[in-house]
């Protein structure tokens, strides 16, 4: 699908904002300011942003996964939602009850992932199914992403198959970053390209260079368009490399240098920057100013979250139900 310059600018800015934010998260983690873990989408911004930017908040729904900071940003998640969740602010969407990437705002069409891989596929399917029943589907789509590792889960399989049977407008992006934690592709699946899975589900499949924003935007745009038009589930497999450890606790030393120096080892942000500049969609100066803006935005979002209170265990409502049953029965 031809991609317009505004879309690319938009997607690229999300990539940039995500990258700069995540760099900061990494520093905070290393400085001991974030407890638990930090999981970066470094190297995956192009495909993630292409998806997020192709969706319409308020109309579409989107279940981002581990490495979708760029997609979240493009979809319209406020940066402060991220810093608050990582820093445990009680003001964040998860109020300190859950952390890092386990966040969402289901009411804005963005459910909060659970850790169990593959589990969000059927949830997005359910959201679309409900919209159809309510008569509000009307050209909207639902999207989610998974990694190469998550394709081995039963949940992925059941969810995608169910979406296909129900002919739901689901766009699923498989970000094949060649590793699941430390496990390489050849210990994860035995086909050549995961896109070969698509036809078995009766789903349209696409394979794309995940380090190439232009290509990602075109392919994801096409997939989203077809889904909107009633073409049923679409599966995009993006090939790329995770340019960080699994989490910031991990140096990823198991990634062979041949992968790092190979084609997919290139940085999608650099590639995209060149593409934008060469096509005349943005100037280098403009990009620098975006960078500065983002850095400032990140500083603010971190500072604000840091000065906010953490949850207070003594004022916490320690119930897991919304229904209030008589106290004696709990």
């Amino acid at each position: 699908m031809p991609v317009d310059g505004d879309f690319l600018r938009e997607a690229f800015r999300s990539m940039l904002r995500a990258r700069i934010l995540e760099n900061k998260l990494s520093s905070l983690y290393k400085a001991g300011k974030i407890v638990g873990g930090v999981y970066l989408g470094r190297g995956q911004e192009a495909i993630s942003a292409a998806l997020g930017a192709s969706l319409i908040q308020g109309k579409d729904c989107y279940a981002p996964l581990i490495r979708d900071q760029a997609g979240r940003t493009a979809f319209g998640e406020a940066m402060i939602d991220c810093t608050r969740t990582y820093l445990g602010s009680v003001e964040g969407p998860m109020r300190g009850r859950d952390g890092n990437i386990h966040r969402g705002r289901p009411e804005m069409g963005m459910p909060a992932m659970i850790s169990h891989l593959g589990a969000q596929v059927s949830v997005i399917a359910g959201m679309l199914f409900a919209k159809r029943l309510k008569g509000t589907l009307d050209g909207s789509v639902g999207a989610t992403s998974v990694g190469d590792g998550a394709t081995s889960t039963g949940a992925f399989h059941e969810g995608l198959n169910l979406a296909a049977v129900e002919k739901l407008p689901l766009v699923i992006v498989v970000a094949n970053n060649q590793f699941a934690y430390s496990t390489p592709n050849h210990r994860q699946f035995a086909c050549g390209d995961l896109v070969e899975r698509a036809s078995g589900y009766g789903v349209v499949g696409y394979s794309v260079d995940g380090t190439d924003l232009l290509a990602c935007a075109g392919v994801v745009g096409e997939a989203v368009k077809r889904a909107r038009e009633g073409g049923g589930p679409q599966m995009v497999v993006a090939h790329l490399l995770r340019l960080a450890g699994h989490g910031e606790h991990d140096d990823g030393s198991y990634v062979p240098s041949s992968a790092r120096t190979g084609h997919y080892g290139r940085d999608c942000i650099e590639v995209a920057m060149r593409q934008l500049v060469e096509a005349g969609y943005a100037t280098v100066d403009e990009i620098f100013s975006w960078q500065e803006e983002s850095a400032e935005e990140v500083q603010k979002a971190v500072a604000q979250a840091q000065q906010e209170p953490s949850p207070d265990p003594y004022r916490e409502d320690w119930t897991a139900l919304s229904t209030k049953f008589p106290a004696s029965t709990t």
Partner: protein, 321 residues
């Protein structure tokens, strides 16, 4: 004219489908076929586009329900047998159960679980999993023993904003009949005195309520008056009613059909001894199924789960202290 337990479940679903546009039914073989137990018979025809057959994908069924609930719907999911919910375990305990606590948005789904033993059903079509799910925060676990409760509690379950696991006992489906489905208006979370008495209290739920009443009837001949408390829901668990009964009788037998380690009966005994130790005139007792898978052969099955005989025996022991 009489109504069976399974009729009641069907009628309740018909009523909520009629009255609440947010309700839909999703499950294996539940549309035209009407379900393995006919709990949805005719509903697909009566409510076109609201009753769906689905693939054999229990994990995705619950995921779909959660997604639909996020969008404001009130799905009822039928597991073909409670035992197969083991496939949906993750989506139930980690996705559905945690949703409200994590996000502040409740997910009102009802999962219907045909459960409990029947002769010849064997290890994988007989399980009583209520004590498994009740361990997880965020779930309401309902276990109707009567025709009227099957009806009214299912309707109430759909109205609750939280995920409800609705354990239906397969043995009661066609065996249990009532003149009508009129109920006594008790809400979920409140237990019922199924049979009043004064010498000992049996706390139980689901099909075992009937076995307990039978045992109580037998002991009546010997002059014993046994009170039977029907918990109705195991989470929330109505400790007030249980304690009030134990206060009257001084003796407690916690009775269930599930495996003997932990579960509902352990929770009942632990709660009562924590809060009502001084009320007890004798050591509280438990009676459960045996600690093996549920056997296929009817003879083994009958000896695997509590029976009026074994309940009487446990009660006599309890009364002899």
């Amino acid at each position: 004219m009489s109504v069976t337990y399974i009729d009641a479940i069907r009628e309740a679903q018909e009523k909520v489908l009629r009255e609440d546009g947010r309700v839909f039914l999703y499950g294996q073989d539940i549309a035209r076929f009407g379900g393995a137990f006919k709990a949805t018979k005719g509903l697909a025809e009566e409510f076109p586009g609201r009753v769906f057959d689905c693939p054999i994908s229990e994990d995705a069924m619950i995921g779909l329900a959660v997604g639909a609930a996020i969008e404001g719907m009130r799905p009822i999911i039928e597991m073909q047998f409670a035992d197969f919910s083991s496939i949906a375990f993750n989506q139930i305990v980690n996705q559905a159960a945690t949703h409200f606590y994590r996000t502040g948005m409740p997910v009102p789904i009802v999962v219907r679980l045909p459960s409990g033993g029947t002769p010849g059903s064997g290890p994988f079509h007989s399980q009583s999993m209520e004590g498994i799910y009740a361990q997880y925060p965020g779930l309401v676990v309902v276990t109707p023993a009567t025709v009227s409760d099957a009806y009214h509690m299912l309707i109430e379950s759909v109205k609750l904003d939280d995920p409800v696991l609705f354990f239906e006992h397969k043995f009661l489906y066609r065996w249990l009949k009532a003149k009508s489905i009129n109920g006594d208006g008790l809400p979920i979370g409140q237990a019922r005195i199924a049979r009043p008495g004064k010498h000992a209290t049996v706390v139980t739920y689901s099909a075992m309520v009937h076995e307990a009443v039978r045992a109580a009837d037998r002991l009546q001949a010997d002059g014993w008056e046994i009170e039977v408390v029907d918990l109705r829901s195991v989470k929330p668990l109505d400790l007030d009613t249980v304690l009030a009964s134990v206060a009257r009788t001084g003796r407690l037998l916690a009775l269930g059909e599930a495996f003997p380690w932990g579960g509902v009966t352990a929770e009942v005994v632990a709660k009562v001894t924590e809060e009502g130790f001084h009320l007890l005139d004798a050591p509280p007792q438990r009676l459960n199924a045996r600690d093996t898978p549920v056997p296929y052969h009817p003879k083994l099955w009958a000896a695997h789960r509590p029976t009026p005989e074994s309940i009487c025996e446990a009660l006599r022991k309890l009364l002899s202290f």
